[in-house]
C-alpha cells in the first residue's frame, strides 16, 4: 500500500517536472524576442547619443553593412555601405563631407549619389526614424 502511494507520488512529481520541461520552452517562446522581427527590413542602428555630429558608424543590416551618418547639423542619414563598384565597404569623410570608398577613390554625396570615381550606381538610401532613444533604419519600399 505504501509502495503504491509512493509510486503514485513519484509519478506525480516526475510528471510535473516533465510538464515543466515542456511548459518552460513554450512560455519562453511566447515571450517576444528582443528584436521583434527579422532584421532584413528594419534594424536598430544605434542609440540616440551614440554618434557625435559629423561622424559615422557601420552597422549590420540583413547580412550586409549599412552606414549611419550624423551630419554636422545633427541630422541622420543611412545608406547601404557596399560600394557599387567592387563591393568594398565605404566610409564617411568629415573633411570633405562625402562618403568615400578607399579601394578606388570612389565618392558619393550624402544622398548616396555617385559623384566621382569608378562607382557606376548610387548607394541605396534607407529611411531613418528616431524612436525613443533608438535610431531605427528601415529599407524603403522597393
Amino acid at each position: 500500500m505504501k509502495r503504491r502511494r509512493f509510486l503514485d507520488w513519484l509519478i506525480r512529481i516526475s510528471g510535473t517536472v516533465l510538464g515543466g520541461f515542456v511548459l518552460y520552452p513554450v512560455v519562453r517562446y511566447l515571450v517576444p524576442p528582443r528584436i521583434p522581427e527579422a532584421a532584413s527590413r528594419r534594424v536598430v542602428a544605434a542609440k540616440v547619443d551614440e554618434l557625435a555630429p559629423d561622424s559615422y558608424k557601420i552597422f549590420p543590416f540583413g547580412g550586409n553593412p549599412g552606414i549611419l551618418i550624423r551630419t554636422e547639423d545633427g541630422e541622420y542619414r543611412a545608406l547601404s555601405a557596399t560600394c557599387t563598384h567592387l563591393d568594398c565597404t565605404v566610409q564617411y569623410r568629415d573633411d570633405e563631407n562625402v562618403i568615400w570608398c578607399a579601394c578606388h577613390d570612389g565618392k558619393y554625396s550624402l544622398d548616396g549619389k555617385n559623384i566621382s570615381g569608378p562607382p557606376p550606381r548610387p548607394l541605396e538610401p534607407y529611411a531613418v526614424h528616431v524612436q525613443g532613444d533608438e535610431i531605427v533604419v528601415e529599407k524603403t519600399k522597393a
Binding site: M1, R3, R4, L7, D8, L10, I11, S14, G15, V17, L18, F21, A39, I58, P60, G63, P65, H85, C88, T89, A102, C103, H104, D105, G117, P118, P119, P120
Partner: protein, 432 residues
Amino acid sequence: MATVHGLHGRLRVPAGRRGAVVILAAALAGLLAAPPLPAATKNSCVDCHRELEPEMARPIAEFGRSIHAARGLECTACHGGDPTDEDITAMDPDKGFKGRPSRDEIAALCASCHADAAYMKRFNPKPYVFSIAEWKTSVHCKLESEGDKKVATCTGCHGVHDIRSPDDPTSRVYHRNVPETCAACHNPEYMKGRPGKADQYEQYVGSVHGIALLEKGDLSAPACNDCHGNHGAAPPGVRNVAHVCGTCHGRVAELFGASRMKAAMDEAGMPGCVTCHGNHDIQPPSDDWISTAEDGACGDCHEPGSTADRATQSIIAAFRDLDRSIVTTDSLLQRAEVLGMATEYGRGMLREASDQVITARATLHSFDEETITAVAADGQGLVDRARDAAEGALRDWRNRRVGMGVSVVVILLLIALLLAKIRSMERPATEH
C-alpha cells in the same frame, strides 16, 4: 552620239529628237532615283562622288554618319572648293579647293577649327579645345616633326570621314575601343625596326585593367590614354608614375607619396609603382612579393638579413595569420549556420575583418612596419570577435543537446515509473 563632259563625267548622250526624249526620260528617272536633297543646298561634291567607284564614293557614306555632318559641316569645311558648281571646276584651286591634305598638313588642318575656342563654342558651350601646346608634348608630334611618316596623326586615331564623338560606342576613341585603336600601330609588326618593345597591347589585354575594361565592361578601368594622355601621349615621367596611378588609386598613392620608399626610388630613378607592379601587364598582386627572395619584389634593392628583410617577415607573418584566421573563423561560422544557429553578428565582424585585410594591403604602401602591423592587428581583433561569436553559437548548440538529454532522462524515468505502476496495478490483489 555626242560626248559631253559635265556633271556625269564622260557620257555618251543620244542626239536628235529621239535623243531629246531619251534624255528627258533619263533625267526624270535620274530625278526620281536620286535621294531627295534639301531643296536649298546643292552639294556637287556629294552628287558627283556618289556615282564614282567605291573608293571615291565611300567617304560620302562615311561622312554621313560622322559628327561633323551632324553639326552641319560639309566637305568644303576641310577640302574647300565650290559645292554649288556642278562641274569639275568645283575642284578648282582658285575656288579654294585644297584637295587631299598631305600627312604633315593634317594636324594643322584639324587644329584650324578644333584649337579655335571661339569657333568650337558655336557648337558646344563647354567645348574641348584642342591644345597645340599639349600636342607638342607628345611623342607622336616629336617624331612627326622629325619626318617620321608612320607616326600617328589626328586621322590615325580618330578616323578620316567617319569621325564620331568619343561618347559614341562606335567611335574609334570610345573608352572601350581605345586599346584596339592604339594597337593598330603599337604592335610588333608595325613597329618593327623601332627601339623599345611593341607588346604593350598584348600585355594590357591580359592585365587586371584590360580584363576589367574589355571583358567585364568596367568603364572605370583605365585604357591607354588614361595613363599616357590623349593628344599629349607620352609615357609618364619616372617621378610622376605615382601621380598617374594615384588618379584612381588615391589612398595607396597618398601613402606611398609620404613614404621613405618614394624618396629613395626618386633618387635612384626608379619608376615608383611600376617597379613592383609593372606598367602594362599589371596582375593581381601576391603576398609572395613581400620578400627579399627570388620571386619577391624587395630583393632587387634590399639584402636578406637587413632591417627591411626582417620587416617583410613580420609583415608577411601578420598578413598570413590574419588570412588564415579569417578562413578558420569562416568555417566555424559555416558550421554554426548549418546547425541553424544565428551568426549575423559574427558574419558582420568577419566582413569588417576582411575589409581590414584590404586596408592592410593598402597600408603596405606606407612601407612602415609599425603602421602596417597595427592595421593587421586591428583586423585580427575583429576576427577574434567573430570567432568568439561563432564559438558561442556552437556552445549554445551543445547546451541544447545537454538540455534535451536531461529531458529525455526525465521522460525515461517517467516511462519506467508508469510501467511499474501498470505492473503494480495488474498484480494479483494479495500482493498490495
